[in-house]
Symmetry: C2
Subunit: 126 residues, 2 copies
């Protein structure tokens, strides 16, 4: 299993790669059968095709992610961080979402699940 340090390194790299708009490199951090629940409570994106589409869309929109605190590890296969997401929301303009991302990892150190905790009121004009 990946160590806490391994998981933290992937999460920090994830934020940098999303911000660089490199959808292909972001998707490469994920396991083939991974799931994304962003925000938690929304329909779950599952599998490679859905994940590719999710990050192609995010990167095309110019989304930026900055780690605000953490990542924090665990004694299992997951880690979590606080982050700021900056994104231009159609019809709403530049928007800042402060949120928590929790990620689970498989034995190869790939992300097997990502969950982002934010609600409507956590979105603010940037």
């Amino acid at each position: 299993m990946p160590t806490s340090a391994d998981m933290k390194a992937v999460m920090t790299r994830y934020a940098a790669l999303v911000s660089a708009g490199d959808a292909e490199a972001v998707v490469a951090l994920y396991a083939d059968n991974a799931t994304i629940e962003d925000p938690v409570g929304a329909p779950i994106q599952s599998g490679r095709e859905a994940i590719v589409k999710f990050y192609q869309g995010a990167c095309a929109s110019g989304v930026k992610i900055k780690v605000l605190s953490g990542p924090y590890g665990s004694f299992g296969n997951s880690a979590a961080m606080t982050a700021e997401v900056l994104v231009d929301v159609p019809g709403q303009g530049p928007t800042r979402i402060e949120l928590i991302e929790v990620m689970e990892f498989d034995a190869q150190g790939k992300i097997s699940a990502m969950r982002a905790y934010w609600a409507q009121e956590d979105m603010k004009p940037a």
Copy 2:
């Protein structure tokens, strides 16, 4: 189901009640069949008796919890926050753990699951 605002209010109150050492009031925030995984990857504490024991121990040790950021909501029944835990660890002295707590809630707005993300290296001398 509880709103994001409801869940955030419970989490803020949780931190205040733990810091005040009021184990009984903390336990009252939990559903009878709730689970605690603190840290994530450690054995899960399950049910009222285990939860009472967990918080009686925590409150007896004088643990303090301060919300550092959030709580952040979701579009489902869970929310998350970053917090600082100050605790006197036997044989180690005053210790600061920066961590993320994720909580799930039942239809009555009681905490049904708590997970705390922190690893050995997230514990620092206070």
